[in-house]
């Protein structure tokens, strides 16, 4: 897991989607407790941990991790 979304806080504004260079963020089909379609990443492997999504998220929904180099090589 490289990028973690705190789904309940998401307002579905889509700014993370607009700025993801890998184009791997989408709005989910379901609604969260606020009534928004939360942003989510299905294809975690493609994430480069650039954190552009997190920097543009107005609601501090996103936490970004970067795997250690060795682990990356193994995977």
């Amino acid at each position: 897991m490289k990028v973690l979304f705190n789904e309940g806080w998401c307002k579905g504004c889509g700014l993370c989607i607009a700025f993801c260079p890998q184009e791997i963020i989408h709005l989910a089909e379901h609604l969260n407790r606020k009534g928004y379609r939360p942003a989510q990443v299905v294809d975690q492997d493609k994430c480069t941990s650039c954190a552009a999504c997190a920097r543009m998220c107005p609601d501090t929904v996103i936490t970004v991790y970067r795997p250690d180099r060795k682990q990356t090589a193994v995977s």
């Binding site: 806080w9 307002k11 579905g12 504004c13 889509g14 700014l15 607009a18 700025f19 928004y36 941990s49 954190a51 552009a52 997190a54 920097r55 543009m56 998220c57 107005p58 609601d59 501090t60 996103i62 936490t63 970004v64 991790y65 970067r66 795997p67 250690d68 682990q71």
Partner: protein, 252 residues
């Protein structure tokens, strides 16, 4: 696994009331991250203004005082004159608050070289009251009170606050930044950090003007709004440092 990005402790656990995509959320986060990085959360007092950010005191994880419309720089002055020098004082104000009703307070706080940080959020409109014309509304921009678009004949021309305050000898640091993409968000954070460092060094008044969006009242999607900042606002409100001067009082 290394954490590249996580939520700052400079923000409380409260979820914000802002509309989806509102860049207030980004700017709040930047200020909070800076206070955390400067280890200043326990020594900072913030002043919330009136407008969409009226509830800012719910979100910043430091002591907060809420001011009357436009009066945040005066309230911050009162705090500044009382609190020990190691305390940081900042105001967080929108363009209606700072550049319209509060113009006298901001001008004189700057002129006095009041040792405070001002975060000035410019989104060219009154957000909270439902999208009326602000002093920063662009020519031709349609708002609730300029239904045909702002006209220079009828409503006059928008005010460039940073340029104006930069003419005052008392102002130590004035920069305009933007939130329309990740690179500019990083630059905005750098500027905000610089502003607090200037205050910590007792160099005097500093203001960071942050170009911000208002999807709801602009009638655009959040993504379109950021493009609008870039294509419409920045040409009129150019980014950059407008004032950077050595320590106040040490010039001569």
């Amino acid at each position: 696994m290394k954490t590249v990005f996580k939520r700052t402790t400079g923000l409380t656990d409260a979820e914000t009331h802002y509309c989806p995509g509102c860049t207030h959320g980004i700017i709040h986060r930047l200020v909070a991250e800076v206070l955390e990085e400067l280890d200043a959360l326990e020594t900072t007092v913030g002043v919330a203004s009136v407008g969409c950010s009226v509830l800012a005191y719910h979100y910043f994880n430091c002591d907060m005082t809420q001011a009357a419309h436009g009066r945040a720089p005066a309230v911050a002055t009162g705090l500044r004159r009382v609190l020990p020098e190691d305390r940081l004082v900042f105001t967080y104000q929108g363009d209606g608050d700072l550049a319209s009703i509060g113009m006298a307070e901001i001008v004189h706080a700057a002129a006095r070289g009041e040792n405070i940080t001002v975060i000035f959020v410019n989104n060219a409109i009154y957000g909270m009251t439902g999208g009326q014309m602000a002093p920063t509304t662009l020519l031709g921009q349609k708002t609730a009170t300029t239904p045909e678009g702002r006209s220079s004949q009828l409503q006059g021309l928008p005010i460039r606050v940073s340029e104006m305050l930069a003419t005052l000898d008392g102002a130590a640091y004035i920069e305009r930044v933007s939130t329309h993409d990740p690179v500019h968000v990083l630059k905005a954070k750098k500027a905000i950090k610089k502003s607090f460092e200037i205050q910590r060094n007792r160099q005097g008044f500093s203001m960071i003007e942050v170009l911000s969006s208002c999807s709801t009242n602009w009638g655009l999607t959040p993504e379109e709004s950021l493009k609008w900042i870039k294509s419409q606002m920045i040409p009129y409100y150019p980014l950059g440092i407008f004032k950077q001067q050595p320590c106040i009082g040490e010039e001569s």
